[in-house]
């Protein structure tokens, strides 16, 4: 239970609001705060090899995140969708690209 409380507190950190211009603040939308919290706990509980396996898969997740962000941008500008619709709809793209890359590399991302 303590582990999940720590995960919750560390993963919740937010910074991007304080920065301008907006495109620069957007960089923090892809900040590895969840990764730092999770990897810290993974190293402590399961060892370095476990954390390394996670970061190898994270490579596929990060590529999917880049594609996801571009798709969200296009849906907002071209399709004129609301942010909540665009971000939630694009999660399908993230899942497809992330798992697609994982399958394509045979689980060796």
């Amino acid at each position: 239970m303590t582990e999940y409380v720590i995960r919750f507190l560390v993963g919740g950190a937010v910074l991007g609001d304080l920065l301008r211009p907006k495109s620069f603040a957007g960089l923090f939308g892809a900040a590895p705060s969840v990764a730092l919290a999770t990897l810290g706990i993974a190293v402590y509980q399961h060892g370095v090899d476990y954390a390394v396996s996670q970061t190898q898969a994270m490579i596929a997740g990060a590529i999917a995140l880049a594609v996801y962000s571009v798709v969200v941008c296009h849906l907002l500008v071209r399709a004129k969708l609301r942010a909540v619709t665009a971000t939630l709809l694009s999660l399908i793209v993230w899942v497809m690209v992330a798992f697609g890359l994982l399958m394509f590399t045979g689980g060796q991302a």
Partner: protein, 159 residues
Amino acid sequence: MTPIRFSPSSLKEGRWYEYLIRFALGGAATVFTGLVSSRYGAFIGGLFLALPAIFCASATLIEKHEIRRKREAGLTGGRRGQLAAAVDSAGAALGAIGMLAFAIVFSLTAETSVATAFTGASCAWLAVSIAAWHLRRKTRSVWRVRTEQGSGSEIRRSR
């Protein structure tokens, strides 16, 4: 070119519960990743380290704040809100390149030293993200100047 700056006043735009939602989403994403890892293994769980959970909330809030600001000025602000969220998502795409660098550096250095891996990966994220942002900015301003010069010479030719 707008310089990078801290804007503490932007914190006043948000309501306390909006920040609570973002904080909760970040925390929930971390818990979720832990649960996926323990059920399906480190590899599948690792994918979710790059889940855009916080981004969904922040893009929605940026749109909401922009709409609120424009409404106070007597405008609808719907389109402006969408464009503000789009700029944020363009930034997130560049941040994702930084996240890719984070993952690569961590996986290459963790077996040597865990402390170096965390420090190196975080620095790699920051350096690559900022470099990508600068590069995009320069490319866009050069492209804009060329477009303006091109349209200017076309106007002169048509006279």
